[in-house]
Symmetry: C2
Subunit: 410 residues, 2 copies
């Protein structure tokens, strides 16, 4: 008997979230019992608003481009499901639509919050004896998901960060007397992305100082180090997480000397990099520059890691296999069985053991004084950035997948 499946994408986009989608589609095509692979536009929101397309209607050539197309081609959403025990209106609506479309499996590609959505849905389906497998597919540039060696999306992000950092180093090192350059990197609660900047040290000298939220930031120690390095080299390159805090747990961002809250309410533009740059300039009287890598970190598909793309794609395929094997309430995961040669094996983990948990950078990856990253981290991270994808250029510009998005009649 034939049935349908549905896929959604959720949370902050990455360079490889579309590769996971393609993995599901490709694997589903091999199975004759699956007659529709639905895509929910903007995740759960698309299900509730009947914004659903059939991905089997899309052009093959365009779909193949998904491997090198950044962001979420189905559109993303930040939607927190309420507790169904309090109000199950939304849940009932979902079951109604799934029933109508004969959907027997729901796949959600996302991070922590999305796994929580999956868990709630699975709990409800089980409580209602509704026959639909729920499978979470991991993605997050932040790499803070537990129960997985690393999150798909992370490798591409740090390949971008390491390469860009090395290029910045080439640039800033060309003057005899340069500046203190502070590069602010994403990661509010965990320093995985900032740690990735250390890989630039394999290319040229890379960052001189690296600070993560996992260790208390001491402004005076920082200034002492900056001064000494500048005196020696004539330039300093600092990498830091947007979420660094001092020993009292206070965000360094809040050290800002200018305050535009009176004028703009909640608005606070300019990150911690600027705040520290100003302090360096004021206290040490050194020329400074602040660079925020910003969203190109997560969408620079032209610099994605082939390993990361392949793993994200495999996650999609495995997710389908797991649904067919009647697994539900689980997230696809993998562990590293060997580092040299690098090898991973796939399995599943219960969503309840993943949702709403955060994996921090372990102490062994951070230098004793908290101002740098150890070689143990390099061993962990280097396999994740290997390989360059066949990025498609037309006329000197990238060619991204275009899908028709014809809505299913509901």
């Amino acid at each position: 008997m034939q049935f349908s499946i549905i896929v959604g994408q959720s949370g902050g986009p990455t360079s490889v979230i579309n590769a996971s989608l393609l993995g599901i589609i490709d694997q589903a095509k091999k199975n004759n019992t699956i007659n529709h692979v639905y895509g929910a536009l903007n995740g759960i929101d698309g299900i509730l608003n009947h914004q659903i397309i059939d991905l089997l209607n899309e052009d093959e050539t365009e779909l193949a481009l998904l491997k090198t197309t950044p962001s979420a081609i189905l559109g993303s959403v930040r939607f927190k499901l309420n507790d169904f025990k309090e109000d199950d209106t939304i849940y009932q609506e979902i079951i109604k639509i799934f029933t109508k479309l004969n959907i027997k499996a729901f796949f959600y590609i996302g991070g922590n919050d999305s796994m929580d959505t999956c868990r709630k849905l699975d709990d409800y389906f089980k409580a209602m004896h509704f026959d639909c497998q729920v499978i979470g597919i991991p993605k997050t540039i932040d790499n803070d998901l537990v129960a997985i060696d690393h999150a798909p999306g992370y490798g591409s992000c740090i390949k971008y960060i390491a390469t860009t950092m090395a290029e910045i180093y080439q640039d800033i090192a060309c003057y005899k007397k340069g500046r203190v350059t502070i590069v602010e990197i994403m990661g509010r609660d965990a320093g995985w992305l900032t740690a990735g900047s250390k890989l630039a040290s394999l290319i040229n000298n890379g960052p001189d100082l690296i600070y993560l939220p996992e260790r208390a930031f001491d402004i005076n120690l920082f200034l002492t180090k900056v001064k000494a390095i500048y005196q020696e080299k004539g330039h300093v390159l600092v990498a830091l997480s947007e979420g660094i805090v001092d020993e009292k747990g206070k965000y360094i961002l809040s050290y800002r000397n200018f305050n535009n809250q009176d004028d703009f309410g909640h608005l606070q533009l300019g990150g911690v990099g600027e705040v520290l740059a100003e302090i360096v300039n004021k206290k040490l009287n050194l020329p400074i520059r602040s660079i925020e890598l910003n969203i190109p970190q997560r969408c620079s598909a032209h610099l994605a890691s082939k390993t990361d793309i392949d793993e994200a794609y495999q996650c999609g395929k495995k997710a389908l296999d797991m649904a067919l094997a009647k697994k539900s309430g689980v997230m696809v995961t993998f562990e590293r069985v060997s580092n040299n040669p690098y090898q991973i094996t796939f399995s599943t983990v219960y969503l309840k053991d993943v949702a709403n948990k955060v994996k921090k950078v372990p102490s062994s990856y951070i230098s004793e004084d908290g101002s740098n990253i150890t070689s143990a981290f390099i061993n962990y991270a280097l396999p994740l950035i290997q390989g360059e994808p066949e990025f498609v250029y037309v006329n000197g510009l990238p060619r991204f997948a275009k899908i028709k998005k014809t809505l299913v009649d509901l």
Copy 2:
């Protein structure tokens, strides 16, 4: 009779300034009469401080990597030569060193200011009847050099800007209700780089609004447009030059509502993108984000244009040929003899006709109301970003040229 030549790099670095250096070296190697190709570390400063290396001593494999190594491998400098009629001490020192090393040609790869340095040196050499050809080799990401179709370095920079802009668009378009995203691009006096963002419109929708310093910026018209586009699409992508000004010639950057001058003297961090983002948020109450592309614009060799690299390399070769043909006081230039197929021919222009002049973006490239870029610009710019170089990755990371920099005994 054998002789030597010397090369220096000057001004802000680009992704292809090292390709021009390689062009000179490769061409010099074909000529038996040239026995030393000296490199001045940090330009004129290196000559005066005896920081000179012999590039023929460097490893062939490393030199070959110069084509894909960003920034200035010899080191750069910002050094303004004084008028020799007032004081020729520095000039005499240069002649002394050139005589000692039997240097018969000086090549300077740089922008406007560097061409001025070349001109002054050439004038002095001629006045003193000192036999040394002076050849300027153009480079600047800003594309503001006159008497040349476009500046080497520009094509790679706008390939980066267009690609990044298209990736940012993929990212921001994934939410139903997104933000007003303002991307600030380099270019204080001329909008060439910001105009390059228009090329992203060939990939996906690209920037909705594009503002250059060549046209007066009207804040109210801007807000009206932003509001209308946001209502229609749910997100707005704006590209703007750091140097945009209003009709009174006042920098929009100076509209900032917070002022940290009292605390920090000259220091003003955070660019015009942030200033406008704050105004959009305050006046229209829309969610906003400001992205400053910053120095990755000029050093992202991984996304350089092959056409640009090849042209920069050719400029180096032609420069040597011209010196051997006893030309001096000139800059290498090229004109576009055909756009389809794209073809350029090389010649020279007198330095006095280049130095200290600025080429602005012509009116025909800017839309009538000054908020977008025309297809005439696309025709001009598209050939410049064609082709992807063979960028060398080792272990998933770029491999840049390393040179020994052993100093010549002086």
